[in-house]
C-alpha cells in the first residue's frame, strides 16, 4: 500500500478539504523511519518535478539531516539537478537551528567571512510563527500565482524538543488548512515522546504509517539493559498503514519492508510470516477459523426470507426438519427448510418481505464512497 500513499500525496487536496497528511512513525525497535521518509519524499519530489502532482513545488524542512544530504540522496535516485533546483526548496533547520554559529561569528568580529547563505537557513526554530511564515514564503515563491505546494518535515520529534506541543499542533493545522498546501508528510519517533504527543500527530494526519519490527520485543527485554535488538535484523520489518477517509471510514493495511542498497522496498507479507503468526496463536479448545468444508457448507445455507430462485416454492425454515429431508441428507450439517403449504397463504397475506443481502451489494474494500449518492 506504499503505492496508494504515494498516490494520495501526489493527488493532493480536494477543494474545501484539509490536505492529506502522512505521519511516518518509528521507534528504536525498528528505526527504519528515516528510510521510509526518504522513500516517500523521493516519490513526491519525482511527481512534483515531472509535473504529475497537484503540487508545483515541494518545501522540505530539514531538522535532522543537512540539506546537502537530501540533495545528494535525490540526485542518487536519478533526479535532475536543474529540475530539483526549480521544484524543491529546503528550509535548513539543521545547520544553525538556534543561531549559535551566528552569535559566535558576531562576537568574534565582523572580519570573519559570513557562513555561506543559501537564503533558506532558519536560525531560530523555537519561533514557530516565524517558521510557519518562512515555509509559506518559500512555498509561494515557486511560481507566480496561487499554485499548490507540498510540505515535508524531516522530523517533528525535533520540533517538539524546541517548542510546545500546542504551538506545533497549531502550526501543522495552519499548514494543512492553507489553501495552497497540497499535501504534507512528516517523520515522528514514537519513543522520544509521551504517547499523547504521538496521538496528537496521529489525529492530525489522514494516513499513519508505522514502521515496526517483525517480532515485537516484550517489555522485559526492552530498555537499555539489552540493546541487542538494535543490531538485529533491521533489514526488514512490518509496515502498518492506517488510512482515514473523509467519510470517517478507516482502512488498515499491512506490508513488509526490506532495506536494500537502493533504499527501502515494500512488498505484500510473505507466507512464511503468516505461518509464524499462526503458530503464535494461543492453543484453544475451540477452533477460531473455518475449515474449507465448513466454508462450503456455510455458503449453501438457505437463509430465511431469501428466494432461492430455482423455481421451487419458497421454503422458510422454522426450526423443524421434515422426515423426508432428514433421510436424504444424513450428515445433518445443512440446514433443512420445511416446505410449507403456507406459501400460497403467504402470497395472499398483506405483507411481503423482500430481503436483499448486504454482502452481495458491495465488494469488500471497495473504493466507492457509500455516501456519494447522498444529496444533502
Amino acid at each position: 500500500m506504499a503505492e496508494s500513499i504515494c498516490r494520495s500525496l501526489r493527488d493532493g487536496s480536494i477543494e474545501g478539504e484539509h490536505s492529506p497528511a502522512l505521519t511516518i512513525k518509528d521507534s528504536l525497535q525498528s528505526h527504519a523511519g528515516n528510510h521510509a521518509f526518504n522513500y516517500f519524499l523521493c516519490s513526491l519530489a519525482a511527481n512534483v518535478c515531472a509535473g504529475k502532482s497537484q503540487a508545483r513545488g515541494l518545501v522540505l524542512v530539514a531538522f535532522s539531516q543537512s540539506p546537502s544530504f537530501y540533495l545528494s540522496f535525490l540526485k542518487r535516485k536519478g533526479m535532475d539537478a536543474s529540475l530539483l533546483a526549480k521544484c524543491l526548496r529546503i528550509l535548513d533547520c539543521y545547520s544553525d537551528p538556534l543561531g549559535w554559529k551566528e552569535k559566535i561569528r558576531q562576537s568574534s568580529g565582523a572580519d570573519k567571512p559570513a557562513f555561506t547563505e543559501s537564503g533558506y537557513v532558519c536560525r531560530d526554530v523555537k519561533d514557530i510563527t516565524k517558521l510557519l511564515s518562512s515555509i509559506l514564503e518559500l512555498g509561494k515563491g515557486f511560481t507566480e500565482g496561487r499554485a499548490y505546494f507540498a510540505v515535508a518535515i524531516d522530523s517533528v520529534s525535533t520540533m517538539i524538543k524546541h517548542a510546545s506541543l500546542p504551538s506545533i499542533a497549531g502550526f501543522i493545522s495552519n499548514l494543512r488548512s492553507h489553501v495552497q498546501v497540497s499535501s504534507m508528510l512528516w517523520l515522528l519517533h514514537a519513543d522520544l515522546h509521551e504517547p499523547r504527543s504521538t496521538a496528537v500527530f496521529e489525529y492530525m494526519s489522514s494516513i499513519v504509517a508505522s514502521v515496526e519490527p517483525m517480532v515485537e520485543i516484550t517489555d522485559g527485554q526492552k530498555g537499555s539493559d539489552n540493546l541487542f535488538w538494535l543490531g538485529r535484523g533491521l533489514q526488514k520489518g512490518r509496515f502498518h498503514v492506517r488510512f482515514k477517509r473523509r467519510n470517517g471510514r478507516v482502512k488498515l493495511f499491512n506490508e513488509e519492508f526490506h532495506i536494500e542498497y537502493t533504499g527501502i522496498t515494500f512488498s505484500t507479507p510473505s507466507s512464511e510470516n503468516i505461518v509464524v503468526s499462526q503458530t503464535l496463536l494461543p492453543k484453544l479448545q475451540f477452533n477460531l477459523q473455518l475449515s474449507e468444508k465448513e466454508r462450503a457448507d456455510r455458503s449453501r445455507v438457505l437463509l430465511p426470507f431469501e428466494h432461492q430462485g430455482n423455481g421451487e416454492p419458497i421454503q422458510i425454515y422454522d426450526g423443524r426438519r421434515s422426515l423426508t429431508q432428514s433421510n436424504t441428507d444424513p450428515n445433518g450439517l445443512q440446514q433443512h427448510a420445511l416446505s410449507i403449504e403456507m406459501e400460497a397463504q403467504r402470497m395472499q397475506s398483506e405483507g411481503e418481505i423482500h430481503y436483499i443481502r448486504d454482502s452481495d451489494d458491495e465488494q469488500p474494500d471497495s473504493d466507492e464512497d457509500p455516501d456519494d449518492d447522498l444529496d444533502i
Binding site: 519517533h189 543490531g231 542498497y261
Partner: protein
C-alpha cells in the same frame, strides 16, 4: 608500539581500507555507555590513542569534564602515546571544563551562553586543526563525559541535546567524528528512556560496557557490546552486534570472544 587491530577496531570498522587519516570514518557518532560496575573509559583511551597514532595522523579535541590533563597524560603514556607532545603540536586540543560553572540562571539563557562558549572553543580548535600542518587530518571530538555536562548545564537535557546537535553538524560539514561517554545508570527511571533514546537515535555506533553476567572475575573485567546501526557499505546493508569480554591492563586492553581464553 603495537598497532595490530583488535576486536574493538574490527567491530568499529577501523581496520577496513580507506581509513587513512581518521580514527573513525567521517561522519561517525560513537556513543559509549558504561555503568558503575564497569567503566567504559578505556574505550575512550583506546580511541584517542588510535586517532593520534602515526599511521592515522588525526587530531583530537578532548572535552574534559571529569579528569584533569595529567590523568589522561599518565594513562596514555602507559599506552604508548605522548599527549604532552601532541598537545604542543596542536594535535591534541584539551578543553578543560573542570572548573567551569555556568551561572545559575541569573542571566536569562545562562546555560545556553555557557554551551555556546564551549562550542566556540571547539570551533576554534577545529579551525586550528584544519589550517595547521595536519590540515587534512580527521578530527575526533571526544566528550568525557556527557552526564557531567548535564550537571554543568543545571540538569537541562534539552540544552545538552542542542549542544550535541551542533557537534554533529560538524561531522557532516567538516571531517569530524564524535565520541561521547555517558553513564546509563544514573538517571531516574522516568527520565532515562528519553535522553538515552535520543542518544541512541543520534549514534551510528553504540558501545556498551557491562559487568559479566556471572559477577566479578579476577582476569575478565567485563563485557563489551558493540552495535553498529545499519549502513550501506560497498552496496551491502550491514547492521551488526558484537559481544566480547575484555581485560584492562596497564598498557592496553585485551579483548577476546567469550570462552576463547583458557
Amino acid at each position: 608500539m603495537n598497532h595490530s587491530p583488535n576486536l574493538l577496531d574490527e567491530a568499529l570498522g577501523l581496520t577496513g581500507r580507506g581509513f587513512g587519516g581518521g580514527a573513525l570514518s567521517p561522519g561517525r557518532v560513537v556513543l559509549v555507555e558504561d555503568c558503575v560496575e564497569t567503566s567504559g573509559a578505556f574505550v575512550l583511551h583506546h580511541l584517542v590513542k588510535r586517532a593520534l597514532s602515526p599511521d592515522r595522523g588525526g587530531t583530537v579535541i578532548f572535552i574534559a569534564l571529569s579528569h584533569p590533563f595529567s590523568h589522561y597524560d599518565r594513562i596514555l603514556r602507559k599506552l604508548g602515546c605522548n599527549l604532552s607532545m601532541h598537545r604542543e603540536h596542536n594535535r591534541f586540543h584539551f578543553v578543560d571544563m573542570l572548573k567551569v560553572e555556568f551561572p545559575n540562571e541569573i542571566q536569562k539563557n545562562a546555560v545556553e551562553h555557557g554551551l555556546v562558549d564551549l562550542y566556540s572553543k571547539i570551533l576554534k580548535a577545529v579551525e586550528v586543526s584544519s589550517s595547521g600542518d595536519y590540515s587534512r587530518a580527521h578530527i575526533s571530538i571526544v566528550i568525557d563525559d556527557l552526564s557531567i555536562l548535564e550537571i554543568v548545564a543545571h540538569g537541562s537535557v534539552d540544552h545538552v541535546l542542542d549542544f550535541l546537535h551542533y557537534c554533529i553538524t560538524l561531522t557532516s560539514e567538516q571531517d569530524c567524528s564524535l565520541v561521547i561517554l555517558n553513564h546509563e545508570d544514573i538517571y531516574p527511571e522516568m527520565e532515562a528512556p528519553r535522553l538515552l533514546s535520543h542518544l541512541i537515535y543520534l549514534a551510528d555506533f553504540v558501545i556498551k560496557a557491562e559487568p559479566l553476567v556471572t559477577g566479578i572475575a579476577a582476569d575478565v573485567h567485563g563485557q563489551l557490546t558493540v552495535l553498529k546501526k545499519g549502513t550501506f557499505n560497498d552496496s551491502q546493508y550491514t547492521d551488526k552486534a558484537s559481544n566480547f569480554h575484555f581485560q584492562v591492563k596497564e598498557n592496553g586492553v585485551e579483548l577476546f570472544f567469550p570462552g576463547t581464553r583458557c
